[in-house]
């Protein structure tokens, strides 16, 4: 528990993720991309790539699988651009498609991939001590998610990690808010129990 506190405190002054800048709608290239403009579509990918790749990484656990899934999501987006009427619809559409693509990939795979992949991603910080702590934290995150069921993991990733509202999660998954609340509650309890055991064992 103490270790968890230390990790959490250390993380509070960690580097901020700049992904929000990518999601800004300024100069939104959706309309240009609809005409087949690949440069505009690339700009669109830049705005949403964090959303897609990181969500896929949390759901699939390995970077390689997550990149494959992201590629598939963006190809589907390009081929369905006319179905996306406004930029406001795009995030919800992307979450829904990302979840579907990842679930398909998991069903095809059926076998758990190597645990070290996502957790072993090199840290961006230069401080080796900090890098160790971050790697440890990533490993804990990956292992926590892996011991959840597919539905619990999906709900936890969208609600607690990606920060969608319960309503948005329900819409993305085509389920009810009550189901989302029930699943996220179970997932949080399981993760908490797992992390306590995990850090107790390692200290």
């Amino acid at each position: 528990m103490e270790r968890m506190k230390a990790l959490a405190l250390l993380a509070t002054d960690g580097p901020m993720d700049d992904s929000e800048d990518h999601a800004k709608p300024a100069g939104f290239p959706l309309e240009a991309a609809k005409t087949g403009d690949l440069a505009a579509f690339e700009l669109l990918m830049r705005q949403y790539e964090r959303l897609v790749l990181v969500t896929a990484l949390r759901l699939l656990g390995t970077l390689e699988d997550a990149q494959d899934a992201s590629q598939e999501v963006f190809l589907r987006l390009y081929r369905n651009l006319n179905k996306v009427e406004t930029p406001g619809n795009l995030s919800g559409w992307l979450y829904r498609v990302t979840v579907n693509v990842c679930h398909d990939a998991q069903r095809k795979r059926q076998v758990s991939g190597p645990m070290e992949d996502a957790a072993g991603l090199p840290a961006l910080g230069a401080d080796p001590q900090r890098a160790t702590v971050e790697a440890e934290r990533r490993r804990a995150l990956e292992m926590s998610l892996r011991m959840l069921s597919e539905k619990e993991r999906t709900v936890l990733v969208l609600r607690d990690l990606e920060g969608l509202s319960t309503e948005e999660v329900a819409r993305a998954l085509g389920t009810t808010e009550a189901t989302v609340r029930s699943q996220v509650s179970k997932a949080r309890m399981k993760v908490k129990d797992f992390l306590e055991r995990y850090f107790r064992r390692r200290t």
Binding site: A8, R137, L141, S185, K192
Partner: protein, 185 residues
């Protein structure tokens, strides 16, 4: 109420999913129950830990690799689409040209005033016998001498060919339909 009954609500409360009234009720219970306080605190810490790990940025190379793969797959697709669009434009242009040509051919005679009676021109030079001339003495081999009179049909200049200019979607492509007209048309 047993503390076990509070677990789901504590879990929901940790992520801010409990309705306000239930949250007030839960917080009252938490003030009185040390066991539930530990549970609530553990849940919040584990969620904070997950969020911090999740928010760590990924290297740009991971994103650019995906972008490159997507663009590599879409580029030939886009080129094929452009080619089809060009072909479609050509076929529309061609169809329109045919329509214009047919319409032009159908309407052309109506535009000219009364057409003069056609002059029948002999294809072969006319041969007229002169009555004052003594009858031709048959030649030993039996052939009749004849005088050749030039054709009476006046020479008319060749008419200008019919030309239809058709602009396509592509500014660099212009279709010209050129058709020869008969004399007198």
């Amino acid at each position: 109420m047993n503390c076990r009954d509070w677990e789901e609500r504590i879990s929901l409360h940790a992520g801010g999913d409990l309705p306000p009234l239930e949250a007030v009720e839960l917080e009252r219970h938490l003030r009185e129950c040390a066991g539930c306080q530990v549970l609530a605190s553990g849940l919040k810490q584990s969620l904070a830990l997950l969020q911090e790990a999740h928010d760590e940025p990924l290297a740009e190379a991971h994103f650019s690799a995906v972008r490159a793969r997507v663009v590599a797959e879409l580029e030939p697709e886009r080129r094929r689409g452009a080619l089809w669009a060009r072909r479609r434009a050509w076929s529309f242009g061609l169809a329109a040209a045919v329509v214009v040509l047919l319409a032009g051919m159908a309407l052309w005679p109506g535009r000219t005033p009364e057409r003069p009676a056609p002059v029948v021109a002999a294809n072969h030079p006319l041969v007229i016998a002169d009555p004052e001339e003594p009858p031709a003495v048959p030649r030993p081999h039996g052939r009749v001498a004849r005088r050749v009179v030039p054709s009476t049909v006046p020479d008319t200049p060749d008419p200008e060919p019919l030309m239809v200019k058709l602009q396509t979607d592509d500014p660099n492509v212009v279709i010209y339909w050129i058709a020869d007209r008969k004399r007198g048309e």
